[in-house]
Amino acid sequence: MSNLAGIPYYVLEFGDELVYFTPYTITLFLLALTFTIFVLVSRPERQVDIAFGGDAYTTKEITISEMRFRRFMAIACGLASMGAMVTGDIFNFTLFTAMVGITNVGIVAAVKSPHVQNAAFQYGLVALTATVPLFGGAAVYAAATGSLSMIELAKGTLPAVPFVAKAFLVLGVIGEGMAPFYAAKAEMFRAPGAPYVIMCSLSSLLIFLRVIEVVMLG
């Protein structure tokens, strides 16, 4: 069970820090990379609104300045997601996760719609609150095992990780946008700009998938 995601194909070491690619993490990393490339090369769609019951419709336009800001935030979100997918350090994982929460708010913050702004504000509150158990979980990992390295935890030679540390970590990730907290995010998806908005849902899902691997270690 400790060697959950398979034997790493490749390990890149930066002193104590390291990045590793297993079949599982490389799948998630490639998805994050693909959609980040879409953000880089796509232009936003012109969202059509229909007045149901009538035949009137309007298309929403995104201004250049708004598009630039949102594209920047979506790329930052993609980079944070990629980092979270391949990092071998639990503290770095929590940092990337927190960054995903912040950039998710940023992706829709420039949209001039009260529904979207309200949803972004509410989601921002949940995401910020969730950073407490998120970083708390990492702290308990360090206190209980003396290491934050996923490779060391996977070896099974360190003391067992307390259940509460894993629970905190999962709770923190759920707060960044998984059920039931994604209810606020659904309203954020009203915003036009598909290539950017899709990063909000993709990043949360990827982080959730990665934390499943993380909590199985140790």
């Binding site: 796509s42 232009r43 769609e45 298309t59 059920a179 899709i198």
Partner: protein, 282 residues
Amino acid sequence: MIAELVLATVFGLLLLGIHRKVIARIQRRPGPPVWQEILHMLKFSFKSTWVPATASATLFIGVVLVAIGIWTAAFFVVFTGGSLLVVFAIYMLHKIVEHGFGLSSGSPYGKFGGVRSVISAASEIPLFVSVAAIAIFTRSFTLSDIVLYQQVHGPLLFIAFPAAIAMYLVILSKMPSGPFSIVESKELVSGYKTEHFGVWRAGLEVCNGLKTTVLFSTFILVFIGQVPILWMVVGMVLLVISLSFACALTPMLSPFDSVTVQTIVTGLMLCYGTFLYVGGVA
């Protein structure tokens, strides 16, 4: 392996054709021939293709390639006995694909289909608990290890029956015309795929065929074990017939009810998973 991939796609589309036929016969309609979905895929391959003027063109096209890519990867993972966790991840990421399909066109129907897809993400959590329950028994997430475990201990269908039920419901939520098919319900025209026509729709049909084969074969491998190919085919046909009965006899739920039912299933599965983990059943 290309031949296996094509065969899996065609067989998956045939299963979807059987699904439509069985539903029609239960409802006392003649229904389309069982190879209708294969004809659909071929027909769309040669129809005129366009990108809507309002669409985000790169995403509109790119998401079709991603859809085919992820299920091709899942197919190879299943048939090489790889990690069940990767299949689980790909299944969840299919939500993002549906979301991308819906949002990229600019159409409000597609957008609502895409948003419903993300909102119904609760349906994926039972799959995770199901996978976790299997791992508690088999001590591995690798399909080849799970198959070996069943050769010694017997099918997981009997050992972890609630996990099988949960995975069955997850597959049901992905079947067309089912109680949880809110992403493509008719008040949204065709939901997230409304604006994808021509070659793009043909690509989506290929993805649906592959997805059906992968999910069904995963279910049989995980809960019954390695069986001869003929029995695998028979098992998949029986599985699709049972799903067709569920789809034909159950009305489509409203989005709210759909998410509520899936959340209840999630809660029950979490209780089951906790019972296994704490009770040390394995």
